[in-house]
């Protein structure tokens, strides 16, 4: 367990985390050679397992019928127009032209099933793979990833939430240090990373801090700082982050104009570009949220507006990850917390529908060009063909990341809890 480290930085590689990274869990001994292998495996850019994750949340719940699973010219179609995709015989809603063109590298699940129909509970479910529980908070999958995989040589947070909604990814029972670092529209620098005084004065402040820390440490165990308060470590890391060149990864204004334009001049487009730059820097998990899909009224126009924002950003991200050779080591998920009703309501809207919705999966060992499951074109049958439950998606992602998803963690309430209780969906990977 990464117990004495934070979700940030490199220098606290513990033997146990290395062991996991090397896929050698179960060995109770570890030679320096095994140490070395663990680091090498981490450095290797090719082959399995995947090592990073991008989550694109279509918050408010995208309508599967107006995006990745349209049923045109049926009573549930709702006037949607469709286009062909790179997958033979598979159609998407019009407006997703760019996304359609990258589907050779992407698969679409049309049979996602959640058991939660409330936004907050469903977000909890899709981010953690568990249903809300009054007795404990489960970690989001990005936190699990940071906890289980070896730390990466970066000076900035390795779990990042861009444009978070009310429910950003959390560390849950793994601890607040695994919470996602939250940033908003990445159009400039991020908050609180610039010192308020000149360098020279900051140095003096830190020198004074040493004097004060010595006074507090006198007569106390050395482990108070190194094991418990982590004060020195957190100051060092904050300082390293404040002066790090890697902070530039957050600032998309530094990217070439052509690149920026491709993603679209929107906060979400910039968020996706920042996600690319962060993954390039070695960050483990980035979530980017595009809200505004909760179309209880005027569904057709509402969805189309969000589709326009999504299409350029998503397709550019997949293309660029591939171009930089990062797609094989980076999993990209894109979808909402649930779907929307086949039935169109009196306000021309669609309501909440957790019974069958769509999710795009790509990279990191996911196969491209496949379709999983199907929904009833008449909208009469609730259950989709080949259902993929939210927890199954979690198990599959963790498995691709080389994490033993069945491993039980001891939670603070003393109840052992598996990292995921789902089953791996082999059809999506092999």
């Amino acid at each position: 367990m990464n117990a004495d480290s934070t979700c940030l930085g490199y220098d606290h590689l513990t033997r146990r985390t290395l062991m996991r990274g090397a896929g050698a869990a179960g060995l109770s001994w570890l030679t320096p050679l095994a140490d070395l292998l663990a680091v090498e495996a981490e450095k290797s850019p090719s082959g399995k397992p995947a090592k990073s994750l991008i989550l694109l949340w279509l918050g408010g719940a995208a309508s599967q019928l107006d995006t990745f699973d349209p049923h045109p010219a049926t009573k549930i179609g709702g006037g949607v127009k469709t286009i062909g995709t790179a997958i033979k015989g598979v159609q998407f809603a019009a407006g997703l032209e760019q996304t359609a063109s990258v589907m050779g590298d992407v698969s679409v699940i049309r049979s996602m099933v959640s058991r939660e129909g409330d936004h907050e509970r469903a977000f909890y479910n899709i981010k953690t793979g568990y249903r809300p529980d009054p007795t404990l908070i489960h970690p989001s999958i990005g936190a699990v990833l940071c906890h289980e995989l070896p730390e990466t040589p970066v000076e900035i947070p390795t779990h990042v939430s861009i444009l978070p909604n009310q429910w950003p990814a959390r560390g849950g029972y793994l601890g607040a240090k695994f919470d996602a670092f939250q940033v908003y529209d990445p159009r400039g620098s991020i908050p609180d990373v610039r010192a308020r005084v000149a360098d020279e004065r900051m140095e003096k402040r830190l020198e004074s801090l040493e004097v004060v820390e010595r006074a507090f440490a006198a007569g106390r165990a050395a482990s108070l700082d190194t094991q418990k308060t982590l004060h020195r470590l957190s100051i060092e890391r904050a300082r390293r982050m404040m002066t790090s060149e890697q902070l530039k990864a957050f600032d998309v204004s530094l990217a070439p104009a052509a690149e920026r334009n491709a993603y679209g001049d929107t906060p979400f487009g910039r968020g996706c570009l920042a996600a690319l730059r962060l993954i390039q820097t070695g960050v483990r998990c980035v979530e980017v949220t595009l809200s505004g899909w909760d179309t209880h009224a005027n569904n057709l126009e509402g969805q189309a507006a969000q589709v326009k924002i999504l299409d350029a950003a998503y397709a550019s991200l997949i293309r660029d990850l591939k171009r930089h050779g990062l797609l094989e080591s980076t999993i990209v998920l894109c979808g909402g917390e649930f779907g929307r009703t086949p039935k169109i309501n009196a306000l021309e809207g669609r309501d909440h529908w957790p019974h069958a919705f769509s999710m795009l999966v790509a990279g990191g060992g996911f196969a491209g060009g496949r379709v999983m499951g199907a929904t009833d074109p008449q909208g009469e049958k609730k259950e989709p063909e080949k259902p993929v439950y939210v927890e199954d998606l979690h198990a599959t992602v963790l498995d691709l990341l080389g994490i033993d998803y069945l491993k039980e963690m001891m939670t603070p309430i003393g109840r052992p809890m598996a990292l995921s209780k789902g089953d791996v969906v082999q059809e999506l990977t092999s």
Binding site: A176, S189, V197, K204, V211, E213, S223, K228, T229, H231
Partner: protein, 542 residues
Amino acid sequence: MSDLLPCPPRSAWLRNAAVLVGLVGGAAFGVLHWFEKPVTVTKDAPVAEQGDTGMVAKAVDAEFEEEWAANGEEPAPLADDLTLMRRLSLVLTGSIPSLQEIREFQAMTGTDRTRRWLSRLLADRRTSDYLAERLARAFVGTENGPFLIYRRRRLVEWLGDALLQNRPYDRIVRELIDSKGVWTTSPQVNFITVTNEPGKGPDEAKLAVRVSRAFLGVRIDCVECHDGKLGSPWKQADFHQLAAFFGQTDFALTGLRDDPKDRYKARYLGQTEEAVIPAQVPWKTELLPEKGGPRARLARWVTAPENRAFARATVNRLWALLFNRPLVSPVDDLPLAGPFPPGLERLADDFIAHGFDLHRLIGVITATRVFQMSSLSENPEAERRWAAFPVTRLRPEQMAGSVIQAASLTTLDAEAHVLLRIKRDLDVGNFVKRYGDTGEDDFEDGGGTIPQRLLLMNGNMVSENVRNNPLVNAGTRIAMLAPDDRTAVETAYLAIFTRRPTEAERGHFEGLLASSKGNGRQNVMSDLYWTLMNATEFSWNH
């Protein structure tokens, strides 16, 4: 700064305005003489407690001493008075003491001045408000809940009033469980209405969870869906029969009431149909009154003096609030039949014998050697056995309250100008939002996170409270008003750390002040404030 996060409301003008109002009134000049000598206290506070509090505390200590001896543990020496004062302020008011309070405390004479200080704090509105907020987290959580029928704030105010009057705790709890009416006129009904499900009424299961955890320190919610596993003695029926006491609770035009026609139904594991579940308590059934409405009977049973789980759970929770760490962890999971740690049974006995008097309980716990011990120990394991005062991380609202208090030389209490108090609340809220709330009740001691460190080093709140601002910021005012460097450094240390500097610290900062000129002096004070607020000693209770 081109921060991407929405900036907190720039409410600095509020504070400036309030201070100007104060200046016009002449009150702000009063601080001058705090640099010279302790102030004279006009009226002495009454002694915190009469009679046998000390004896009970000694009996509690004896149990700990026995355990230390058995383990060959050398207990830490007693802490000094100022350290005790800091602890008491932090846990009772949610903030460190002000320089004004420190000077008043120093002017008090006698060996029992910390006891008298405690009784002053117990009569302070800040204390009842803060304890009410802490307890409310266990009672109703932190969320705002169903809007039209629930006002968390009203409940906290009601609880604050009850704590200020020192209403017996068993009565407070009975009023929460067995309340009627609308939230506006009977704020205690919010305990029930927070669980309301649209179209279904109050959620019996959630209420069973709250009652068993918050008041009895028992977690029987694990058996909501199946009988107990992993050695849990509880059966599914225990949970649902407890929930059934809320089966008749419903809303009408007149607010919350019990409808005798309603019945609680649930489906047990292995059954195909829902069944009507009778109301029954999971232990000591003989204590359940036969007459009365279901909630009234439950309330009597929960708070019966013979139902010791109630007293134990309350002792454990109060202990947790005072030490930032419970005697039994987690705070709401105590064994019914023991074994119990040192002190718990003795404190529960005293709490029951004195009619569930919370002020007395606080008085007894803080009179123990265990509470008054120093946190200084070379042995990292000592605090595990309470042989040294545990070093625990301040909660976010304690951090924010302390930064704001340290930047003001006068006490920000109910007497402070209303604009200052509004500004304080806004700032605390903004800070807690960014720093991360600890949730319902978290006594975990994780180290600080990097975003938290960045917020303290570079964030708005610390920056605004330490920068040069002769009108409002203590650092600047000390730089301008202190008669000499020695006094300036000492005053800042008292205002931020509630202690005097060591010789090494004094030498270091006096040196920096001596070599500064003009405005540089104010910068040194600003840097001193920043430094102390970013130190371990500031963000950890000790």
